[in-house]
Symmetry: C2
Subunit: 202 residues, 2 copies
């Protein structure tokens, strides 16, 4: 298994460098479990799939605490056949995504209900891409069923699903979508944007 | 066929609203061919697949002309089975993506070589997702072959490919990746970020 994310933080502020450098400290507790590399476009996290969204949540909440309009965008991937297996990516727990769709939806809902509360309200949208599967739309529709019952569903949009709620539940919902849908050892990618402090919430 | 993009513009500036509102004028020439809807996270463009990247290029170049660090992020899609066919999305020309991979690579290179020059240097990264195909990695590797010969290839990264060059050629290369790879009537998604005026080019 190879899993990780390319993440980018966009503070809409003249002080974007200061906000980014301050927020990166939030990744410190994750550093021993992740390989982390940065260039001018994004920061790569490679590590256990179930720690990717908590790490992104902590980074984003820290950045948004500056009070400026801020967006985190990420491309998250597991099981890409073009990447070598990496022991650092071994899941810490049984993800349970071999189970029937209905069971996975129930487990995903429970995980979101028990997510930590951060106090930061965010809007988000994401797209799930289960690759190489003949029935990829079944997994997408199953995932959409879960999201609609997750408590943070906002609306369906073309090409993506929009969420709104506390950052804890919103990142947990995207994590569940990523971990529990698509084949267990299959190639799954997820594209996301999370926004806080927008001047024009819709 | 249904095709379109969810696009977001992130100017790293206290004047982000002014920069975005100014740049949106660059979409005016495309309005008669597209359906355009905006919310707090992104702007939806629905229209002919081969006009999506020129529209995004013009929007981004206009925004970057403000001289601030600026990023455009987009999720582009064609052929999604969950969307209705829409006459507005009918391609204006034969895309030729039924041809053998080698022929498609040659045609894509020629298209990039003849792209307009904007005078704006950008860095970009993108991921191509040909969905529902048993041989999705063949199309991905074919696309990577093209990009490496495109003149704007920078490097391979985990989960994405990085480009650098004039915005005209960079957007043309991503357009070719989107139009010519993956099944002609298949479901193809492309996730991209384009950046200008970064204080830390790598």
């Amino acid at each position: 298994m190879f899993s990780g994310a390319q993440i980018s933080l966009y503070p809409m502020s003249d002080d974007f460098v200061g906000i980014i450098l301050g927020a990166v400290k939030a990744l410190d507790p994750y550093r021993e479990n992740f390989r982390i590399e940065t260039d001018d476009l994004s920061t790569l996290l490679v590590g256990p799939p179930e720690q990717l969204f908590p790490a992104m949540r902590d980074l984003f909440v820290h950045a948004a605490n500056a009070g400026k309009h801020c967006v985190l965008a990420a491309t998250v991937s597991r099981g890409c056949p073009g990447e070598p297996d990496d022991p650092i990516c071994t899941p810490n727990s049984e993800l349970g995504n071999q189970a029937p769709l209905a069971d996975r939806i129930a487990a995903a809902k429970a995980a979101v209900a028990s997510a930590p509360v951060t106090g930061l309200t965010v809007a988000a949208q994401f797209s799930l891409y289960p690759l190489g599967a003949a029935h990829h739309m079944d997994e997408i529709y199953g995932c959409i069923d879960f999201v609609k019952q997750s408590g943070v569903f906002d609306r369906s949009k073309n090409f993506c699903t929009k969420l709104r709620g506390d950052a804890g539940a919103v990142f947990a919902a995207m994590s569940e979508a990523f971990l529990r849908f698509g084949a267990p050892e299959g190639h799954v990618a997820l594209d996301l944007k999370v926004s806080a402090h927008s001047p024009t919430p819709v």
